[in-house]
Symmetry: C2
Subunit: 337 residues, 2 copies
């Protein structure tokens, strides 16, 4: 039998906390026996929610944390001051080895800062990147980095490419994942200073499958499996992806209600349209891991509902069982020699 993977879940973080978070945790443990969840937050509230569900009591443990970090708080200050917050208490569980992973739909800034400060980086990792999966017409691609560390150097981007490849191959199951760098043209001589510096380093990197530059328009078509960029650009890509998608979808819906004929048509296509649009919905694909830490920290959307929370928790099991952190350690130390 495989070891049980222990996952701390921030019961207080996100727009739909605690209800949907706790529901997602229950669904995860009811789905798999090899998970133990620590629900971290105000214990009276969590216990009251838990009463409505059936689950194996050995698989869920409530850990009290009296404070909550909100999205408006400055992350560094919040992590320092709110020692009793659900985020800090959870990260300490990971740091002390009591939990293998931490899942939160709360403040992205606080999770990123806390992950680095409390859990700490794997030796050799210069910067831990945040790496969400983007839906494409072929499946998913890993966008790395979308974190809070802007103005990256080329050596950071090379590490992102390596860590991203390990993740896509072992967690998502894509053999020999194609790595590309976001650029403004396909040619090697194109790009800004950072990209021009990074391109030859990636080209000469033996342990990744580098296919060159990717222009932003090819990302939704699945032009690469691992999409490398610095965090400012990654953040723009991630948020524009969501924005353009939701704007078009709301326009299409509105357009369909503009005539009687279309209203009838809309009724007929509803089911297929919904399925199609769902395939472009990032929330189906679990959370974004913060890679390169001594433990796993996963940030899910602030708007996460139970399904995304459940998927994020299950993602942690694969991460642990596939020994991702050990593989990152081996890979980075190998290259230091």
């Amino acid at each position: 039998m495989q070891d049980v993977v222990k996952i701390a879940v921030d019961a207080m973080g996100g727009d739909n906390a605690p209800g949907q978070i706790i529901k997602g945790a229950v669904e995860a443990v009811n789905d798999r026996k090899d998970i133990k969840v620590f629900l971290v937050g105000k214990e009276d509230i969590i216990n009251a929610e838990l009463k409505q569900y059936d689950f194996n009591a050995n698989q869920i443990e409530v850990i009290n944390a009296n404070e909550v970090i909100s999205n408006d708080e400055a992350p560094v200050m919040a992590i320092r001051r709110k020692k009793e917050s659900s985020i800090v208490v959870s990260l300490n569980l990971v740091k002390n080895g009591d939990a293998d992973a931490f899942v939160s739909a709360g403040s992205t800034g606080a999770v990123l800062v806390g992950g680095q400060f409390i859990v700490g980086r794997i030796k050799g990792v210069e910067r831990p990147p945040l790496a969400p999966l983007l839906p494409t017409i072929k499946g998913v691609s890993l966008l790395i980095d979308c974190g809070a560390n802007v103005d990256a150097r080329s050596s950071h981007l090379v590490q992102f490419a390596k860590m991203g490849s390990i993740y896509m191959e072992n967690v998502v199951g894509i053999k020999n994942p194609r790595v590309a760098i976001v650029n403004i043209g396909a040619e090697e001589e194109k790009g800004n200073m950072l990209v021009k510096e990074t391109y030859p380093l990636l080209k000469n990197c033996p342990d990744i499958n580098f296919i060159g530059s990717i222009e932003a328009r090819d990302i939704p078509y699945g032009g690469a499996d691992v999409i490398v960029c610095e965090a400012f650009v990654g953040n723009v890509i991630l948020k524009l992806y969501e924005g353009v998608g939701s704007a078009i979808i709301s326009s299409v819906k509105k357009g369909l209600l503009s005539s009687f004929q279309s209203k009838i048509g809309a009724l007929l296509i509803k089911k297929d349209l919904k399925r199609t649009l769902k395939s472009f919905d990032a929330s189906e694909h679990g959370g974004a891991p913060l890679l390169g830490l001594n433990g796993l920290v996963v940030k899910t959307h602030g708007s996460s509902k139970s399904t995304e929370v459940k998927n994020s928790i299950i993602q942690c099991v694969t991460f642990k069982q596939q020994r991702i952190n050990e593989k990152i350690k081996e890979n980075l130390s190998m290259n230091e020699d």
Copy 2:
């Protein structure tokens, strides 16, 4: 009567040249009497195409240019060597004052480089930005800069904000346009080094209506009228906009053909769906001006058909009649005092 605006059109540039380009030019002169078009390119080919149309012969003049610059050529080299290309011949018409403006669907790089080298910058303009209009659910926003000059400085971005405001107010007709800088969060302290440096400069700039940061997800919702960023980020935004839009649209169409019920529904919604999707189609909004030159240079999509060519030509008339370049000169020199 208003002066005739003289516009050089690159008859050889773009995926649909020369047919659609020449058709667009004819449509423009048939639409308005205050336009004269110079069709620049291989004259035998152009004359053969022109035979199928009726138009006022005084409004179209063919100017021979025997060479063509392709998209694969290195722009700087191509501009230097191909003196007889449609792009270089056209740009010289603008330089010499024989034409007020130049419209091309050809090589973006060559148009940008040639515009700067041949036509030259307005005194005081540090960098000429390329500024396409993006469709939003509210109308259009100006994205400035998407050009070839990456790694901009903060002073460049401030000029982009000013030139963009003048363009949106006078050409697009939006009073007191809202200016925002692309950022990874709404707060003033967020951002990369460039944004942090630029933000206070924009905030203290008296002649623009600066509303702060804009996150990428709010761009399709029309969160600002003038969207300021450096060219690498602008290029990513422009291309991802196109990519996500077309990927979702093709998925929706495919999804609608997956069941009999949806096929019937699809027939009923076809007209309204088409109109909705068209409103998100950048080609309806004319070309992107390269601002800050001693003359007007407009780059239209490589895939432009006659409607976009026509709209781009007509856009040049407004630009000239609204004295945009004079306003840019006044504004920049005022701020130098």
